[in-house]
Amino acid sequence: MYTYSEFDHDFLKTRNAQFRAQVERRISGALTEDEFKPLRLMNGLYLQLHAYMLRVAIPYGTLNSAQMRQLADISERWDKGYGHFTTRQNIQFNWPRLRDVPDMLDALAEVGMHAIQTSGNCVRNVTADHFAGASADEIADPRPVAELLRQWSTDHPEFQFLPRKFKIAITGSPNDRAVTRAHDIGLRMVRQGDAQGFEVIVGGGLGRTPVIGKVISDFVPEQDLLPYIEAILSTYNSFGRRDNKYKARIKIMVNELGLDEVRARVDRRFATLRAEWSGADRAILRDLRESFAPPAFRTAPTEGYDVAYRHDPVFRSFADTNLAAHRHPDYAIVTISLKAHGATPGDATAEQMRLMADLAAQYGHDELRISHEQNVILPHVHKSDLPHIHAALQSAGLATANIGLISDIIACPGMDYCALATARSIPVAQEIAQAFRARELDIGAMKIKISGCINACGHHHVGHIGILGLDRAGVENYQITLGGDGTETAALGERAGPGFAYDQIVPAIDRLICAYLDLRVDAQESFIAAFRRLGPKPFKDALYQTGGRADAA
């Protein structure tokens, strides 16, 4: 893992000292809220519905056990003993007091963490495949490149005031677990012969105008990546709209100018930048690759795992749903579900964070990941350790075997916390998880994603079933989209029809699921496969119960 240099530490120290002084001036009344707001947002501090919220970056979702423990300590000392992991691989603390935030930032800095660029119209936390460096299906570990992008974009003088926030995601695997097609820039590592390079996708994004990103270049060689990305950002900075915040994202620029025109402008800019480029990033990337070198994998028998798998059905079901194939055959990737039935998606208590940190330290080469699906991952675990890990997880309520199932729901904070929300998300997720608990293995692979407003922080557009909470004449109302997909076969869900009242949303999902169970060819055909085979009609009929009436007519 990358460790901060002296320079990084000094930078954070100076920055935190500045913010401490700004907070003091706000409290004394020397700064008004209008003056203070941009300063606090630059340090990840929002004011939400019931309290302040501090958003902390977890670069490309990677952290070590000391960092996870520090997050636990912070949550206990200055918050209410838990944290909320988000779809952008960040953590949010929902209840800090203004006075305490400088101390929280200092505590973060002690372990090389911060809240810089977690808000504002700049390059946000670079996100990556949460199985990076571990997965069997990977071409290369994308994190050295993600770290390079982070270093290049942090405090980059030209890109602190872009037309709008800017999000970059990167995957090193053909199986896209980073939703690259729904980002301003999506990067997919590809090889051409011996050359390592990137497919560059541009102009994806969710929110008010959801767009699946388009391929602007199918191969940018690795040595050209930074100048090429700089060319895209600089083109966007010059030509992106600033007159209307809803039209300021790069996706609108790509739509208005056309992909070919954008490509031509980027190429022109790239030609200039490339010629001026020093190439210093090459050496940095080489060093970064070393700091992300795979751990020393252990050779040991795996019978313990096989025995537990054969004899313990609870362990077996955990292994079947929560493990993924590791590049080393004796190892596994463990996804720890933060979606216990009825719990708030993405929340972990201090105690749970500490337990996960302990497991990472003891069994996981000191690495943890946060996934955009709001779960935690132990990327490198020897199979013989899995029974102990499972037992430890059980003791902390972290052994829910539901990864990829209907209760593994992404939900944004919605109206329970968020000042922008138009309806609640969390209780809807909680109710759906409870309602389908008994049937979820039969239902199989299913992605439900819920947002509390059109900003789509809960990724509802790319959910197999997406749920969007709205305000209809002063009551909560939920619109359903069908057929979305956030992977390499990315697609936007289609709106099914009129929304449902709060107490009608679970029954509506129930009708949808029953229709799917009736219509599928067999238990192997997933919801999304059935939807693609049959189209939306039978599912809409089920949602609105029009099938029966149409037959009778």
């Binding site: 004394s28 019931h50 007091r97 109206m415």
Partner: protein
């Protein structure tokens, strides 16, 4: 009461805690919606709002929120204000322990 003014309470976020506060009949601020003063006069409401805006060292973003009178005091007219008054649904970390739910 002015013709086009609907009854409202004056609310803001407390600068230090960030939590929701309401202007009361005694000219003080309370954390409970039921303690709020229900303005029926537009002029009075506007004056109270201006006074709150003039205290940036105590409040953030004061505004008037529609409400109606209930059995125990003013009640929020919109569900967003109801959630602000009560706290989040998932934990009793907001005002629920004060008996607001």
């Amino acid at each position: 009461m002015s013709r086009d003014f609907a009854p409202s309470v004056l609310t803001a976020n407390d600068l230090f805690e960030g939590d929701v506060v309401y202007f009361t009949a005694t000219g003080d601020w309370s954390r409970q919606h039921t303690d709020a003063l229900l303005f029926t006069d537009q002029q009075e409401a506007a004056e109270a709002l201006a006074a709150a805006q003039a205290q940036p060292e105590r409040f953030v973003g004061p505004y008037l929120a529609l409400a109606h009178s209930g059995l125990n005091g003013p009640e929020p007219a919109h569900f967003r204000e109801a959630f602000r008054a009560r706290g989040p649904s998932n934990y009793r970390h907001g005002k629920q322990p004060m008996g607001m739910c």
